[in-house]
Symmetry: C2
Subunit: 345 residues, 2 copies
């Protein structure tokens, strides 16, 4: 039974484990600084499929199989999957996961999906609703460019504020195993819209949501940045990260040295200049979490982290109609240790 | 704390109440047999907005305000909203709900969204994750036609298997009030794909998912159709409903006289011949549930019902690529009475 802390934060008193997890990337990710953290790096970003949409579905299928395999689990040991993605009607998830025969609880949080889905999976374990629940998401540079911006063949120029959609997928299983890493708390985000209308500047559109969720989490838990080894946002990139610091500083929260962004970790922006302000897409936060962060916790190199994936909740249609871009951010507190007994008893 | 019954079904031992709910429709719904059940019927299906997408967002904003108002609740009394819709990137939900300042947990289940979101809301109450959680969804004939089929101006012909997307929205609040109706059990669906490729025959694409979820629920709970006053599917329409009976009969489940479909209830197919095989869209199951079914339970005219909304998890893009259409169905057991103490103790 979770305990509500303050107005917005749920403390998972049983500290569900993230039992197993995996990350897949492709060529661009193989050239980045986290290359060694991926379980698999696809040479061929079509994955042998005829369309980019089918290639992305295939990423989800592969990542679920990989994560189960790493955990020595069969699909029958999973009670439900929370999954979503950026494609229209979330088809990567529905098509990619249809062969597993598991209850599918579809979610949509744009690039915040990894935090949303793993938060829900953890709560399902906490509440006894599932013995094990899985969280999955993906993105693909080519399906995203085609859908949100221009067909690749058009060769559209990208402004420096733009971000590079990660071709990759991450999956994680929440369960009762009792080993690290542990999921300690979840804060679901409120939609924030500061009027940004530039679909090539998602970092700016999402930063207010990241600030809102983080401030509410600190308020609720009476903690501060110094209580954590590090705070990882999902895909704010350089511009959104700078804005996050500017938005939180006036509230007395100094994130300097305590914050970085998955979109800044996954690529080397000096060498890979084409990535612009950093990585993005559901696969960005998902692969950095499932490829890098969870291992750091498991191996004790981090003790306490906050993982906050951010999503820009727009569609090309509605932005073309002159609307601004709302953002949302969901936060997870992950730890190398379960809650101490004196806290949760 | 929910109890897992069998492999797939969650029994909500605290029997959360559906405390308040509301339904909005438009002109076509005003001409149908359930007209009197709607809380509001919009004369102008633009809702004063410049685009169909914005009109549908407006539907979500209005329905949340209406449901809260009916329940005498302020937004501050709601801990989170589960919402989703059919539009690309679920923009009706994100844009429609951004002004409420509440945590938004985006879901995607196509037309199964009302059952998915209310199931999750009920589980959040059951698990102590929320004191009150809201479930919301919508659809709009004009935004759906434009996105999934043809622009209205094109005047495309509709085959008789096609269904008519409901212009409407429903919202319901799960909470602890202790009055009827009660949410007793949830079964989340597995994706089923029998190879249907006709995007004008959604009923056929979704019927296998409905059959799968229903059979698993009966297996898990050791109940049968005769234990319920009625079983309501979401939007199978006539063709999908016929198929559901054909798919369940060989398994010894006789639904004759015990099953109807929200898509058959909402319109008068004899007079409103343009609706084809019946109503559809997230708003179909949502308005029939929130406008009609929940009142029947509250007033004791039904004692036990199953509400199973069905979704076709396709996108136009992936169907044009030659893919078949997977379906999913999520089931809720709703009752005029809470679980008897001897069952849950």
């Amino acid at each position: 039974m979770a305990t509500r802390i303050g107005r917005y934060t749920l403390r998972l008193d049983t500290s569900p484990s993230v039992e197993c997890y995996a990350a897949i990337g492709a060529k661009k990710e193989a050239e980045g600084p986290l290359a060694a953290c991926f379980d698999q790096l696809m040479e061929d970003s079509t994955l042998g499929e005829q369309t980019w949409e089918k290639a992305e579905s295939r990423l989800q299928k592969e990542i679920v199989a990989l994560a189960l395999n790493k955990g020595g689990l069969s699909p029958e040991e999973i009670d439900c999957i929370f999954a979503g993605d950026l494609l229209n009607q979330c088809t990567s998830s529905s098509y990619g996961l249809r062969s597993f025969g598991l209850p599918l609880i579809g979610v949509y949080g744009a690039c915040s999906t990894m935090a949303e889905s793993l938060g829900l999976a953890g709560l399902f374990v906490e509440g006894g609703f599932a013995r094990r629940a899985m969280a999955v998401t993906s993105s693909h540079f080519c399906s995203a460019e085609k859908q949100f911006r221009f067909p690749l063949e058009y060769g559209g120029q990208r402004p420096p504020t733009s971000q590079w959609t990660v071709t990759g997928a991450g999956a994680a299983v929440a369960g009762p195993s009792g080993g690290p890493p542990y999921l300690r708390a979840v804060t679901f985000g409120r939609v924030q819209d500061m009027g940004i209308k530039d679909a090539n500047n998602m970092g700016a559109a999402m930063a207010p949501a990241a600030a809102d969720t983080l401030l509410r989490y600190f308020d609720d838990t009476r903690t501060a940045p110094e209580d954590y080894d590090m705070i990882f946002t999902g895909d704010l990139g350089q511009i959104g990260s700078d804005l996050l610091l500017q938005l939180t500083a006036p509230r007395g929260i100094d994130l300097a040295g305590k914050h970085t962004d998955c979109g800044l970790l996954i690529y080397d922006r000096k060498k890979q200049t084409e990535v612009g302000a950093g990585g993005s897409g559901c696969g960005c936060a998902a692969t950095v979490l499932c490829g890098y962060l969870l291992d750091q916790l498991r191996e004790g190199r981090f003790q306490e982290i906050l993982f906050m994936a951010t999503g820009a909740l727009m569609s090309p249609t509605i932005v073309q109609q002159g609307e601004s871009i709302p953002g949302v951010a969901h936060l997870l507190h992950l730890s190398a240790n379960p809650w101490p007994k004196e806290v949760v008893s």
